[in-house]
């Protein structure tokens, strides 16, 4: 009896070794997992640190002043911040209804043999590198906008009260509207694939009950599917918004890269990301510091937008888990 008990309590050298290895292994893994946290925090802090010079010089004015003049060493970020928000909003105004339509098509309307190929083709759009969108925008879309888009907008929307001034401008093709449109095409595959995926989580018996009561396809989608997936749909939209806010190359080609405030969407403007991409490599001292601080602003804005997106998406999956 005593020998057995003793044997049980004295650890074997082998199991001791296993235990040590197991511990070491788990510590290494835990460190790498925390590295992900460190990476995100490091990214934010390094830009804030890089921007300290201009923050000391301009203070809060940096965020509220529209004067961006590297020659005289004055930096106010209002114009690029405004441009970023405006292009992203234009993108979402176009992308949200189109994405919803595509998701509706892929889940309810299309014959089942068409769903996979069309869905995959739309997702391929998401894989095309953003610089290709930029080149396409500059060489194909800009001439089309110059030739047809801008004159039409000037004649039809430009004469309207209130929103008229937004659509008056020279026929140069580049500008915030073109940038917003290119962004919309980039964002559509992301938003539509999230929407499609969440539409597919709706229990079939809910939809079939509605169909059995005589509901039309549209009524099923609008009154059954959409209320059920509301939070995740909003999450998908915010995911697309996060992408639109931070997109660089596609915008840099077509936005015009002019740091000047303008009400018209047809005038050249700029966004935070485009401004950094264009000027950072050549910038020195305070200018570089100002661009780093702009990067920090962009990071904070996208962080909040993406956080909202994730929380909204998690809400649906949590309900899925409870069932």
């Amino acid at each position: 009896m005593t020998t057995i008990a003793a044997r049980g309590s004295v650890p074997q050298p082998e199991s001791r070794r296993d235990e040590l290895q197991d511990k070491g292994f788990s510590y290494v893994l835990a460190f790498t997992a925390f590295f992900v946290l460190i990476a995100l925090a490091g990214a934010a802090l390094s830009m804030l640190w890089g921007g300290r010079e201009v923050l000391a010089q301009e203070g809060w004015r940096f965020f509220f002043s529209a004067e961006w003049n590297p020659v005289e060493n004055r930096y106010g970020a209002l114009v690029p911040i405004f441009g970023t928000l405006v292009t992203a909003v234009i993108a979402m105004i176009i992308a949200v209804p189109v994405s919803f339509g595509i998701a509706l098509y892929l889940t309810e309307v299309a014959p089942s043999w068409l769903r996979t190929p069309v869905g995959s083709a739309i997702e391929l759009l998401a894989g095309i590198p953003s610089i290709i969108y930029g080149m396409w925008g500059l060489f194909v879309l800009v001439p089309v906008m110059t030739e047809y888009g801008t004159p039409w907008l000037n004649d039809h929307l430009g004469t309207l009260p209130v929103i008229g001034p937004m659509f008056q401008g020279p026929p140069i093709g580049i500008g915030m509207l073109t940038a917003g449109f290119v962004l919309a095409i980039m964002v559509i595959p992301f938003v539509s694939s999230v929407m499609r995926d969440v539409f597919l989580t709706v229990p079939t018996r809910l939809k079939e009950s509605a169909y059995a009561l005589g509901a039309t396809k549209w009524e099923v989608v609008w009154d059954i599917v959409l209320p059920y997936t509301k939070s995740a749909v909003v999450g998908g939209i915010f995911l697309g918004l996060g992408r639109a806010l931070g997109e660089t190359m596609a915008v840099a080609y077509v936005v015009g890269n002019t740091v000047r405030f303008s009400v018209s969407l047809l005038e050249p403007g700029t966004t935070i990301a485009a401004l950094i991409a264009n000027d950072f490599a050549e910038a020195t001292d305070t200018y570089r510091s100002a661009l780093l601080l702009l990067g920090f602003v962009l990071f904070i804005v996208t962080f909040f937008v993406l956080s909202i997106a994730r929380l909204m998406l998690m809400r649906l999956s949590r309900r899925e888990g409870l069932k």
Partner: protein, 296 residues
């Protein structure tokens, strides 16, 4: 008003409502078809532009000669080489870190709060603007090395894009491995790290490989984070501590130029890049699809 009349009017009302519902439904269906056509139309248009403008520049010289000075002929050999080196390095740095972190999330974090937090942060890193990661690596690596742009810095910037993709796929794929596999191996007295490395990784390998391919597809077209980390180099360079050329950055430089020979090269690069990225994402899709059908 007689009873028959009331029935008739209520019938008419019902009829009108029915017709209205049908019209609304018809309009919705037509609009959704239009939306799908809209998406496919732009995919086709962008692909067509890349092919029609890029096909003229495809030649053997594209892959054997270096980027030329303005107005002269040449190729993109140094850019292809630079992209390959930096992408490979980024995958080499990002993959082990990502697999390890993903494993911790799936196998060790359990229901702990910190696991949820790291997953959340990883998801944000996954969709964070890539230019921000470029700025991060600039301040942490380039500025610390005295402001010299280097291929290594470019690779590190790309590795930060690879990392969250691998973390996510590893985490998801490991959680798909049935619990019986873990229990069976553990009950044989196998230490946990061996269970993970020899049993679970084998079960999740197809998924993890898909993640690596998708990450490669994503970074091979990334321009923004390379602009001020690896910068660019007109010549063939194998030195990781010096600026190195890459396809997207050369495309960016050449597209904006007024020289026709440069623009032709830029579009040829765009065509090769798009083709490469689309083939990679199709391979990834095929692996996933095959795995799904074999598991069912």
């Amino acid at each position: 008003m007689s009873a028959t009349q009331t029935v008739a009017t209520s019938n008419r009302v019902a009829e009108r409502l029915y017709r209205k519902r049908r019209i609304v439904n018809r309009i919705a269906i037509i609009l959704s078809c239009a939306a799908a056509i809209f998406g496919l139309f732009f995919l086709a248009w962008i692909l067509w532009t890349t092919i029609s403008k890029g096909i003229g520049g495809i030649s053997l010289a594209l892959f054997t000669e270096n980027t030329p000075p303005p107005m002269q002929s040449g190729g993109l050999a140094n850019a292809f080489f630079g992209s390959a080196v930096m992408c490979a390095l980024a995958i080499l740095i990002g993959t082990p870190l990502g697999i390890a972190a993903g494993t911790w999330l799936a196998e060790y974090a359990g229901a702990r709060k910190i696991g949820t937090v790291i997953r959340f942060v990883n998801d944000i890193l996954l969709s964070a603007p890539s230019i921000v990661l470029g700025l991060f690596v600039y301040t942490v690596v380039v500025a610390q090395m005295g402001g010299g742009f280097s291929a290594l810095a470019g690779a590190i910037a790309l590795a930060f894009i690879v990392l969250p993709v691998i973390v996510r796929t590893t985490d998801e794929m490991l959680r798909l491995v049935p619990a019986q596999m873990r229990e069976a191996a553990l009950s044989l007295g196998v230490p946990q790290w061996k269970v993970i490395v020899q049993v679970l990784y084998r079960g999740a390998s197809a998924g993890i490989v898909t993640g690596i391919i998708l990450a490669l597809a994503r970074i091979s077209g990334e321009t923004a984070p390379l602009l001020f980390t690896s910068f660019g180099n007109q010549y063939w360079s194998t030195d990781l501590t010096r600026p190195m050329s890459s396809v997207p950055v050369v495309m960016n430089q050449f597209t904006a130029s007024p020289y026709e020979s440069w623009q032709t090269l830029a579009w040829a690069g765009a065509l090769v890049l798009t083709f490469f990225v689309l083939v990679l994402s199709m391979i990834a899709r095929a692996i996933l699809l095959r795995n799904k059908t074999s598991n069912d």
